[in-house]
Each structure stands twice: as structure tokens, then as C-alpha cells.
Subunit: 446 residues, 2 copies
Amino acid sequence: MNAFISANAEEYTVYYPLVVSLVLSFIGYKITCLTIPKVKNSFIKIGLFGKDLSKVGKPVIPETIGVIPSIVLILLLFINVPLLFVNQKDTNILFPYSKFSEFLSSILCLESILILGLLDDLFDLKWRHKFFLPMFASIPLLVVYYVDYGVTTIMVPPFLQNEKIISFIPFIGNTYKNGTIDLKILYYLYMGCVAIFCPNSINIFAGVNGLEVGQILVLSLIFLINDALYLFTSELSTTKHAHIFSSTLIIQLFGCSLALYKFNKFPAQVFVGDTFCYFAGMVFAVSGILGHFSKTVLLFFIPQIFNFAYSMPQLFGLVPCPRHRMPKFNEKDGLLYTSRAILDGKTAYDRENKVKKVKPFVLIILKCLSKLKLIDLEYDAMTGELLTCSNMTLINLVLVWSGPLREDKLCQRLLLLQFFIGIIAIFLRHMGGALIYGHDNLFKVH
Amino acid sequence: MNAFISANAEEYTVYYPLVVSLVLSFIGYKITCLTIPKVKNSFIKIGLFGKDLSKVGKPVIPETIGVIPSIVLILLLFINVPLLFVNQKDTNILFPYSKFSEFLSSILCLESILILGLLDDLFDLKWRHKFFLPMFASIPLLVVYYVDYGVTTIMVPPFLQNEKIISFIPFIGNTYKNGTIDLKILYYLYMGCVAIFCPNSINIFAGVNGLEVGQILVLSLIFLINDALYLFTSELSTTKHAHIFSSTLIIQLFGCSLALYKFNKFPAQVFVGDTFCYFAGMVFAVSGILGHFSKTVLLFFIPQIFNFAYSMPQLFGLVPCPRHRMPKFNEKDGLLYTSRAILDGKTAYDRENKVKKVKPFVLIILKCLSKLKLIDLEYDAMTGELLTCSNMTLINLVLVWSGPLREDKLCQRLLLLQFFIGIIAIFLRHMGGALIYGHDNLFKVH
């Protein structure tokens, strides 16, 4: 049963953690399904509810229900601990402390983000307060990484392997050796940023029934496909075990999320809340950091990264940002339309909200984006003056491309987009990696 | 800096974790002091408030403020991790994984109980739902204990060291060997119970301004005195390090609690909430289990154990139990009086609440307790019939002994009681242990 450390053990013992995960994942699914209907009214009772603005009559729906699958997942991981480790004490080999600490620090990280999410759902924390807290949560994880691997070198693509060019890079330029550079503390900073980015990016890619949990399900699938590729092809036991660890987490996340999806999909009976978005995002971050593919994780998060980058002009106030940017619901045809930001700064609404006229260079950028079909602009039919633009979120962009859609269709398209980008990312990672570096990264640990 | 594992290292390195704890404890105190006034209104805003029934006008006071010091303590412990462990990787000795896992599993345990406490404060969980959850939280702790020590034998006092008598004990009777018996799985069950008991017992010994945090401060002092005794007298490095670990947690708990006490002491500006009682109780449980003095911990909790045992007749319905059992505030003289339970079952209130007349054998017990001055009974002056009894909590009992008191004086007496019982417990543990077992337990790990 020495599932985690011995490379030469029989196949079935290597896959023992996966079997445990599958069983627990199913149990987690069942428990979550049974619990949500029982507790959802208690959430409304204590004020945790929201109005579904994209439905006729704007029904009141319990909010923050994602707490349930999060807690269930943590309980499952607790049950994992004795199942995976207790029987390893009697073997003749040393107890796999490093794997044990990895597991503990992962649960720790997840519990921390759960607490942060809960506080955010309760108190509506300010951005400056909550932004850096996930980095705190990742401290034990980074210490485990430091102690267990401590690898902070990355490979330089061959076309950049020029000592003179690289020596210009401040701080780390002088660490160039045999085609690799040592990022040192920057690598830990980078991993801390992954821990900040994954939870937050899932949380802002939201606003349509089923999208929050849906993207988590799709990302889980992508992660599992990636893990499976390594498990079936790699000869290295360390790689294998890193990806078994990753799948262990993701499989159980999948079970709990699937149950939540049942209640959150169109038409939503419950809202997810910030908690679960943060929480699931952290599962991906942990999985990537301790599974040693934190760089690949970012490839899987391309839709989220795009959504964030695309939102920046509005988030930083270059383009007016209304309070809600979710698509606009039309009660007459039941479809969602792109919501719009008013650009002219002339209406009463604008003056009230101190919206200023956008600067000329921003206008030029907007017009360029419009040419690239990355935004929809509305002009005054008489004067030809620019009046509004579609809000800069990926959700609105899909509506710009496809025209008005029913909520479930819109969610479906966004999830398909996420899925295909994930598949392309896996392809890029393994095939592209081989092209750039001259050998296939499937057979490398880092 | 190899503070945790090397016994022969110089003294200052052994005490390095203590210095770190003292500094962090002070920082925790400051942060908690600064944060509470800033956030307390947000708690009222989201409905987390209560009325102080023992004050004129029953002012509204924010509730669940104990979340702040709990979170601060967890952040401190996170900062501990790199400070205590990162510099140990470069030493020539093996990285102290076992100490590292101990530390991680402790934080894990504390975060779990924090989540449970938060949910309880938010949703008023039912007893049957929350009672066993701390046992879940303690799973990683028990696995660490199993892996690191696995010692489940306890010593049998000499006057019981008779093979024939012991063989009658079911399950474990046949494990008797050289004056010890092996409790096996029962020992883990026992530790799980400690993890259930400590948080819950602090939570029910409450109801007077400053008492919840006050008892935590007193217990911390008692724990630290006990740790100091071992640190200064023991020669065994394992004992020393177990108690350094324990003090590390307790010193930082003390700092955060002291800040909370400033706001919770009479007249209270904030209420503590269940969260902090559970949380601090778990710190004591963790400290006792991984510091290997879980049996001694129960001696320090004698007031809490007494309070629980004394409450049982009311909790189990043998004696009528009113909704609130806290002392009764008299607005005229500003003093607290014993609150009372009505025994005759005749008043309208009783019929409404389906209070039955107490059974004859309970009456006999109550009269015995009254003889021992452990309860106050009130008789009808005309008929001599028993009308009421003082509510069966330690708080009311102190009022029975001393007569009406102002709230702060009452709290003071209860804390003094806790302190002296703690001191006697330390004395009993070390001196009494020597008497019973024939040697001083100061020099034994278990």
C-alpha cells in the first residue's frame, strides 16, 4: 500500500490513491447533493441571498452555497489522510513525510482560502484587504516546495540562449548556466502570484447561471487529461507521483463541484458565492504548484487571463465602469444582450457618477478593438459621435460575436471555449514544448 | 538555528522558537488591538450582535468578535512556518519533517475549528451537528501522533497492578505488561474526545463579561507554568521539545487573547462568540496532544469539567432548564443574583414550556446537594413545598457561595478559582504522580 513513494511497487499500489479518490469523490457528490436542499433556506434566513437579475421577476436565491461543497471536500481530504498514510508506517521503508507534509499543507491552504472566502461573502471585504491574503495562505505550500524540491531554475528557449542577452536581465542574469536560469526567490514570488491569481480570476469570470461551477468542472477535466498524459507516458516515478497527487485533489473537487452544478445550472436554484470560486481556484493552484506544473496551469487559465486583461481598461478607470457588467436581460424575448458602458459623459447618470469623457487615446484603442471585433461600439445616428461600448468582459464579448443568447446557451458557449482552449493548451504544452526546446517535455519533471 | 531537533545544540538555539513566539505574540496583540475597533461596526451591520442582559438598558454589542484574534493567530502561525523551518534545510542533519508535520497539522486543526465556530455563530448549528465535528478536525493530529510516537500505553498505579484484576477489563485487559496497559485505538478515541471536550467546555463556561477570554488567559498561564517546569527540570530532549512546541502555541494565543480581553472585560464593548471559545479550546487540546500531556490537560480543565458535570441534570432534563441560565441582573443595585429554575411545575410559564414536576429521587439529590452547599433551594414559607433551585452552573454556584456580586467581581472570583485549581493540578500532577507511581513524572515523557 506504499502508494506514494516506491516507484517499483506493483501498478495497483501506485494507483491506490486514485481509487480512494474516485470512491470519496462519489461520496462527496452524494453528500453535497443531499445537504444543499436541506440548508439553503438557512442561508436566506441569515441574509445570504441575492436576486437573479436575468430572470423574469428577479427571484430571490440563496447565496454562498459553495460553502457546502468546499466543506465537504475538506472533510474528504481529512479522510484521505489516514487512508493514504496510516498503513505506510508499518512498511520497512521510511514514512513518506514529504508527501505527508505536502498533503497537510494543501489542506491548510484550502482551509485558509475557505475562511477568506467566507469573510468576503459575509463582509464584502475591500479589494486591497483581500487581494494579498491568498499569498499568506500559500506560505506553508511554498515552504514545502522549498524543502522538498527547491528547484527554481527554468529552461531558456534555444533562440534566447545567448549569454550576452541574458546577462542584461537584472538580478538573475548572472545565473545563466547550460541553457537554464535560476529565478531564485522570484520563483517563489511567482508561485505566490499563481496562488493569488487562480482564485481571483475564477471569481471575476462570473455572472451567468452555471458559469462559475461550469468552468471549474471544465478546468478539472483539462487538469485530469493533462495528468493522465503524464501518468500513461512518463517513466519517472517522481513525475508520476506528482500527477497522482494532483489528480487526487482534482477528482474529489470534481465530485463536489458536480453536485453544486446540479443546483447552480440554468435556471439556478442557488448562487455559488465568492467562497467556492476562491476555493476551487486554490485547488488548481495547489495542484499546479505541488504537481510541478505551475507554468502549465497558466496556459489552462487563458480564458481567465484574457478576461482579466480585457477588463483592465474598465477596472483601472480608462473606460467608464458601471456597477454591474453582467449581460442585460430582456424580459420580452428572454434573451441576454451585451450590457454597455456609456462613453459620452453627458447623461445625468454620468454626471451623478462622475463619469468623465474618455481620453482621445482610449478612443483610438476602442476603435481598433472594434475593427478586430473585440468590442461593440454604438454611434449617434445623427452626429456620428461615439455613445456607448459593450462592457469589457469575456461574457459580453461572446454576446458581441454571437448576438443575443439565452442564458444557458451563453454559458454553454463559454464553457466550450474554455474546454477547447484547454485542449489546445495541452497540445501546445507538449508538442509546442518539444518544438521550442527540442525535446518532449512529457518526459521532464519540471 | 536547528531549534527543534538537536538536543545538544547550544541553549540559545533551543529557545529560538520561544523568542520568535514572544515577538510574534506582541505583534499579534498590537494587530488585534488595532483591528477590533475598526471592524466591530461591520459585525453589527451584518446582524452579528447581541444584547448585554446584565447592563442597564441592555445595550447592543457586536458578537463573534473572537474571529479577529483567531485569524490573527493563524496568520502568526503561518509566519512561524518559514521562521522556524526554512533555515533548517541547509543544516547537515535531515530536515525535521516530523516537527514540520506536527506544526502543519496543528494549524490545520485550528483552522478547521475556526470554520466550525464561524458556521455555528452564523447558523446556530444544532448540537448533534456540531458535537462530533471537532473529532474530524483532529484527524491529521492523530495521524501525526500515530506516525511520530504511536505510544498508546498508560501506566497502571501500583495499587491496581494486579494481573487478575486487570484481565477482567474488556479488550485491553490482556495487554498488561510490566505495570502498563496498552489502550490501542481507545487512546486515539480518548485524544479525539479531548479535542471535542476542550472547545465545547470553554464554550459553555460563559455568560459573564470577560469570563470566556479570562479563562483562556488563566489557562494559558497554567499551561505555561507547566511547560516551564518541564523545560527547566527535564533532561530529555524529546520532553523539552514537546514543551517548547506547546509554549510556542500558547504564548501566541496569550497575546491575541489579551487584546480581545481588553474589549471584552467588564463593561464589555464586544462579545466573544462561539468561534474564539472553540478555537482557543482547540489550541489547548492540540498543545496537550502533541505536547504529550493530554491527561494533564484534563486536570487543568477541572472547573470546566465540574461545570459540565454539574450542568448535566439540567441538560438531560432531570431538573427543569430555563432558556438562559446566566445570573439575573438587578437594575436597582447593579448586582448579579443567582438565576433560578422553577421546580413545582405549577405556574403558567411551566405549563407553557411543558415543565414537569421533578421526580422524587431528583428531589432527594437536590436536597443532598443543598446540604453540601452545592445548590440553593427555595421553599414556600407557608406550605414548606420546594419552589425553585439555583441554576446548576459554576457561575451561579459561586453566587450561591458569595451572595450577589457585581459582574466584574464575579468574573474575578471565577478566574481566581480557575487559577488556583490549575496550580493545585500542577502540584498534584508532579507531586501526586510521584506519590502514586513511586517516581516523579517530571522526568517522563508520557
